[in-house]
């Protein structure tokens, strides 16, 4: 038996877990996976619109397991930020309840273990990078050389070390985002809330952030991502919830949502109108996006046939293979189904 910290730490934090994980398993080996976040019918009604429909967030029930990357997706105004604020205790639910690490929402008990990067973050303008992180570190009761070492490490991590003496008022949006990520990580949190992480970042910056997320996940951290960029989230998330107008319209593991059994997808460019009509007749479904024509077939042979015909008609085959939806398609299908 080693020291308690090398064992299942979740058990130490959450008394409810105690019964389930009685063995004191080592970290990562505990077969009972704890829940980082759990909500039940969490609702926040701000007001009602002209038709009497409530505006806000309605009946959100979700479970985020420890170690997951969880995506809260949806267009602007779908209730993502409301959900985040509810989880952080900044606003209070109209009805329903939730827990983070077994503590009720809003309690100070779990805040030691979380980090939060808001969307388009603002900080005290008169501080520079180091002072800002010192400020946030002090809020955790950190200080001294331990905090300074942590700050140096984080500034390197987010690529702000060279710019550490620049005051926040002179920051670009990308720099604010980077320092925001650093302040969210200052306490080495077990659960990280990230709202629109890559907004304001250039592609390289966004890639670096994604790498950072992966490394965090590899260290067993739980990540809770909010984004309206479904395409960006697709490769990152283990599990997503898609919100629309405050209501949950899809939830599940990303793999499950994207997979469609038994369909073959043919993507073509340079399709003539004449051939497009023919394609519609032979395919199950045809979608036209800009120059790309996507056709779905029930069987592989039908797809091959059409591919050959297309080649003969002068079109270029861009892709031919098993059909996998994108999250955008999932979202559009879900919303379409709603209406």
């Amino acid at each position: 038996m080693g020291p308690a910290t090398s064992r299942c730490t979740y058990r130490l934090q959450n008394p409810n877990h105690h019964a389930a994980c009685a063995h004191g398993e080592a970290v990562g080996r505990c077969w009972v996976i704890g829940l980082a976040i759990k909500t039940e019918n969490l609702s926040k009604v701000y007001t009602h619109d002209a038709t009497g429909r409530p505006v806000g967030l309605m009946d959100l029930s979700l479970e985020v397991e420890e170690g997951q990357i969880f995506g809260l997706l949806g267009p602007n105004g779908s209730g993502k930020t409301t959900t985040l604020k509810l989880l952080l205790g900044l606003i209070f639910p109209t009805s329903g309840s939730g827990e983070i690490f077994g503590h009720p929402l809003g309690s100070n008990a779990y805040k030691e273990r979380i980090g939060f990067l808001p969307e388009g973050p603002y900080f005290y303008e008169h501080l520079n990078g180091i002072e800002l992180l010192q400020f946030y570190g002090a809020l955790f009761g950190m200080g001294g050389s331990q905090l300074n070492a942590r700050i140096e490490e984080l500034l390197h991590l987010v690529g702000m070390w060279d710019r550490r003496f620049i005051r926040v008022r002179n920051y670009s949006r990308g720099m604010r985002q980077r320092i925001g990520a650093a302040q969210a990580l200052i306490n080495d949190p077990d659960l990280l809330f990230l709202d629109e992480l890559t907004s304001g970042l250039d592609p390289i910056g966004a890639m670096e952030m994604h790498k950072l997320l992966m490394s965090l996940r590899d260290r067993g951290k739980t990540l809770f991502l909010c984004s309206h960029l479904l395409k960006d989230m697709e490769p990152l998330c283990d599990k997503v919830i898609i919100l629309n107008q405050g209501r949950q319209c899809e939830m599940g593991r990303v793999d499950d949502l994207l997979r469609v059994e038994g369909q073959v997808r043919l993507e073509l460019t340079g399709v003539s109108e004449e051939f497009a009509a023919k394609l519609k007749a032979s395919a199950d479904e045809v979608m036209v996006r800009d120059h790309l024509t996507v056709a779905l077939f029930g069987t592989q042979s039908a797809a091959l046939e059409s591919a050959q015909a297309a080649a003969a008609a002068g079109a270029t085959i861009a892709h031919l293979g098993a059909h996998q939806r994108t999250l955008e398609e999932v979202f559009i299908a879900a919303v379409g189904g709603d209406e």
């Binding site: 209070f92 005290y124 002090a138 809020l139 925001g180």
Partner: protein, 270 residues
């Protein structure tokens, strides 16, 4: 405790850089610095005039700073959403509110100290000349140095109370309404005596008037107790026990105000 100190420090550093408040401070110091120029308007009472303009300015501009600083402290955090990252950390709302108030109080104190030093400088340079012309004032003059320091000390407590009211009002109301509320409470508090006098049955106050006015007298802050210019002008020695009682009254009222603010802020969405 550490979070409170850090929030207070950040608040002070930020408030100290507010152009608007710096402007008020500069203007106040200019007026205090030139107070002796107006002394000739009251022939035979030059000292009194300098004190009136100097201490009047310290109170008036201190009050302005307290109101406009106090009513912005928390709303600014909400509008810029900096409050979100802070409250997502293990900082309770009480700690946050106290931290903001303390930061504001440090700012007010710094402003008052600067204004007080400016006034002391003017007084020390100019007053002896006025006294030389009127030797009868020499006795009163001797008591003035101590009394002015005590008066400035009292204005600290007064402005902390104004600041507390401003902060709490800003948590409850919109900005404009909170500014108005604070001003009204300040001015009504100057004449809290009025309510007591009017509720006197000998003046014909009915039962209803007595209840309402009596309640107003007991509930409103009493700002007139922080005014001791009479002592300065007449050279009265004000004992420290009186100052302590006055400060105690201010502090007790301040705690009540902050507690009400905490009760509201704790249930408030940010």
């Amino acid at each position: 405790m550490l979070p409170v100190i850090r929030v207070a420090r950040a608040t002070f550093h930020e408030a100290w850089r507010r152009r608007f408040l710096n402007g008020i401070l500069v203007f106040a110091i200019l007026i205090i610095g030139s107070s002796w120029l107006f002394a000739y308007l009251q022939p035979g009472a030059e000292l009194q005039m300098v004190i009136d303009i100097g201490l009047g300015s310290i109170r008036f501009f201190g009050m302005l700073i307290a109101v406009f600083l106090g009513t912005r402290l928390v709303p600014d955090e909400m509008e810029r959403r900096t409050i979100h990252t802070i409250l997502a950390k293990p900082v309770s709302r009480a700690q946050f509110l106290i931290g903001k108030f303390a930061g504001g109080a440090i700012t007010i104190a710094a402003n008052l100290i600067l204004m007080g030093l400016a006034f002391y400088a003017v007084f020390a340079i100019k007053a002896p000349a006025f006294v030389a012309e009127k030797p009868e004032d020499a006795l009163i003059f001797q008591a003035m140095y101590g009394n002015i320091a005590k008066a400035i000390l009292l204005s600290f407590f007064e402005m902390f109370l104004v600041l507390g009211i401003a902060v709490v009002a800003s948590v409850i109301f919109t900005w404009v309404l909170s500014v108005i509320t604070t001003f009204v409470l300040y001015f009504v508090g100057q004449m809290a005596d009025l309510f007591q006098q009017l509720s006197d049955p000998e003046r014909g106050a009915g039962l209803f008037a007595r209840i309402v006015l009596g309640a107003a007298y007991r509930l409103l802050p009493h700002f007139e107790i922080f005014d001791m210019r009479e002592a300065i002008l007449q050279g009265i020695y004000v004992p420290w026990t009186t100052l302590a009682k006055t400060a105690g009254q201010g502090a007790a009222y301040l705690i009540v105000v902050l507690l009400i603010g905490y009760l509201v802020f704790n249930e408030r969405e940010v």
